[in-house]
Amino acid sequence: MGHPLLTQPLLTAILVLLLTAPVSGLVLDGYDFNLRWQPPLWLTLIAFCIHWMILLFKRWRLGEKTGKPSPWSRVSSWGSRPSVHRLAFFVLPVVGLVLPFFLGKYGLTVAILALIYVLLALGLNIVVGLAGLLDLGFVAFYAVGAYGYALGHHYLGLGFWLSLPLGALLAACCGIVLGFPVLRMHGDYLAIVTLGFGEIIRLVLNNWMDFTGGPNGLRVDFPTFFGLEFSRHAKEGGIPIHEFLGIDYSSNTRNIFIYLVLFLVVLLILALVSRLKTMPLGRAWEALREDEIACRSLGINHVTVKLSAFALGAMIGGIGGVFFAASQGFVNPTSFTFFESALILAIVVLGGLGSIPGVMIAAVVLTVLPEMLRDFSDYRILVFGLAMVVMMIWRPQGLVRARRPVFQGRKA
């Protein structure tokens, strides 16, 4: 036997060579193939180095004295200190409100997307993180919100401001409707039924050509501000806001406006959710997650508790959908695939199930990261997937561990 530090990586390297040689070394060309030497060799070399480094790292960790907190745990404990919370409470809203004026148009669209994902993640966090109901079809409510706005606008001429509460209400109703049949199910069966519902909604949107426009989608009007429009030229009798304010036209104005409204809504929802966590309802969610049978014997009505979680989560998802439609100016079913559900779930799990700050950080990271990787275009999603796996193995409990609110009795 050779040195274990080298034999193990060598074995890995041979395995990786076996795996990658056909797929990346022999490239199909019609019914023929072209030989390429470099990709499998590079991959093999990379695999060897990574395994070798992991072994070195493990040995180094073994030699290190235990008991010393890792730098990461210091960061995360710093994140949970109350004084930091109070500081964040004042600083974050100010930073968030000023931010759009310093972002270009592109940065602004990314920021809006990130905030939408914060909303979606907060919604799913109620269902999965707090109530412990694994929902793989959360995107359905997102779609209901977005299409609610788009269809309401298209057929009934509803504006953004009316659609926002209506879309939320519609999504909440869908949440309840979906919630009823699945109440009897547990764990993974629930996950699968929700996945089924998510796919059904997307398929119906995709196939009901006469009503939803099918794969070609629907156009949505941008929101107005007390009747002031954000387009270069207003439609029938409206006044574009740049003329009203006497400034030059910029397509950014509209995005800044959407951003600000969205930001306020996020703050509102955030306040609501963190309140709920400490209220009896939130406590009941968590209790039900931990032990359903015990809760029912203690007289908690599991039906209303579960339904309320579904309805609230769905409502927040629906609001996210309305904002998505408003910011894109366009909706079509490809935005609501299972991948989107998986992404939102990944945000919630990576952030730390049930932890509100963790989920928010993860939402921002997971939307900004792929955008930052856009310059790698081809490798973007690959790196994203790698990051997901590595993050999960590195911190399976998520970025920020969820903390139960603690009520301390007054000191005597």
Binding site: P215, R219, D248
Partner: protein, 372 residues
């Protein structure tokens, strides 16, 4: 509050200005199309054509001494990504004109972004009528329209195939459904009614149930509005089930990838499609075709359309010495431009004054030939 808005605008200008200043040395032009995803074959056609044209124009001194710089905008043939990519081309790369997009369902939402920014857009491949029917002044195309294509298809099915029962299938996309509807309208005008009209879902491979349905209505001609990725498995399964019906489609299958998707030349054999008169046979393009073949690329499908589109853009910029969409559009409406595909001129909508579709047939060696 009002001042803050102004600050924002000033800041955006301050950040944006250096970009604009640098852009003075070259003329940035966007190429929008599906460069990834299942329809990447068409994106490659657009890119190869535009790239070759940019090289040739730059080698000849560029446009009034300024070199053309191309930027890829990948929409993967998806409306949502098309919007994002259009914004990116406009905002980040500051393109002066756009070649693209390819899929009509991408071209339509993207065109609103370009129109709002006042940028000239010429699509080499989006044939859906709605592309130019919406009154956007700065939007042109160098290909035909589906109503022309559909009627050629319908006439062929009725007059040449003498089909008794025609089934029409589409992929629910703007292009595919538009084409199928155009074909259906012409069929009705010719006094025939289709026996089946149905949609299939993009990305699927199993159409056996649908093929059996063709059998149940005794279809002897099947018209498909869609792209090669679905047309391939469709004809494969039709032949596997022993269906004798002829498959007729549009320009969405003009790619060697169709033969691969069908499972080999024997399966593709006998499939008919409509496409513009083969651009490789137009004499103005001979020299370019030869050059591309020399570097090992066969300029099939939309490659030369894309080449011609960049020539049109270059001609308009060099004639007007301007890059704003309105000026370029005005010039194009009143001038004909010589291209590798012959001289091209446009009507008030932005459609070609002359465009002709002919019927092609895939033969047993994996290529296609004009049906006499």
């Amino acid at each position: 509050m009002k001042k803050l808005w102004l600050h924002g605008v000033v800041l955006v200008l301050a950040v944006g200005y250096p970009l604009l200043a640098r852009a003075g040395e070259t003329i940035p032009i966007g190429v929008g199309g599906p460069f990834t995803g299942p329809y990447a074959a068409f994106g490659e056609q657009l890119w190869r054509g535009a790239e070759q044209a940019a090289q040739d124009i730059n080698a000849a001194g560029g446009i009034d001494g300024k070199k053309i710089e191309l930027f890829k905008g990948d929409d993967a043939c998806e409306p949502k990504q098309a919007l994002a990519v259009a914004n990116q081309l406009v905002e980040r790369h500051g393109v002066k004109a756009v070649i693209g997009h390819f899929c009509s369902s991408s071209t339509i939402p993207a065109s609103e972004v370009y129109a709002e920014a006042g940028i000239l857009q010429i699509t080499p491949g989006s044939t859906n009528p709605m592309v130019t029917e919406r009154g956007i002044k700065t939007l042109f195309r160098t290909c035909g329209r589906d109503n022309q294509q559909g009627s050629v298809g319908a006439q062929f099915v009725v007059n040449a195939l003498h089909a008794r029962a025609v089934a029409i299938v589409h992929d629910k996309d703007t292009y595919g459904q538009g084409l199928a509807n155009a074909m259906r309208d012409e069929l009705h005008r010719l006094g025939k009614k289709e026996v089946l009209y149905e949609g299939l879902t993009r990305g699927e491979k199993d159409f056996n149930a649908l093929v059996t349905k063709f059998k149940s209505v005794n279809a002897d001609a099947v018209y498909f509005g869609g792209l090669h990725n679905e047309a391939g498995p469709l004809i494969h399964q039709m032949k596997d089930q022993g269906l004798k019906a002829t498959l007729v489609s549009g320009d969405g299958i003009v790619s060697q990838d169709f033969v691969v998707a069908a499972g080999g030349p024997p399966y593709a054999e006998g499939v008919h499609m409509t496409f513009g008169r083969d651009p490789r046979k137009i004499k103005e393009g001979h020299e370019v075709v030869e050059r591309m073949r020399k570097i090992g690329y066969e300029p099939e499908g939309y490659t030369l359309y894309s080449y011609a589109t960049l020539q049109v853009i270059a001609a308009a910029i060099s004639a007007t010495k301007k890059t704003d969409g309105a000026t370029l559009a005005n010039w194009l409406h009143s001038h004909d431009v010589p291209t590798v595909m012959g001289s091209k001129g446009w009507d008030a909508k932005g459609d070609l004054k002359v465009s002709d579709y002919v019927m092609y047939r895939w033969h047993g060696k994996g290529g296609y030939e004009e049906v006499p």
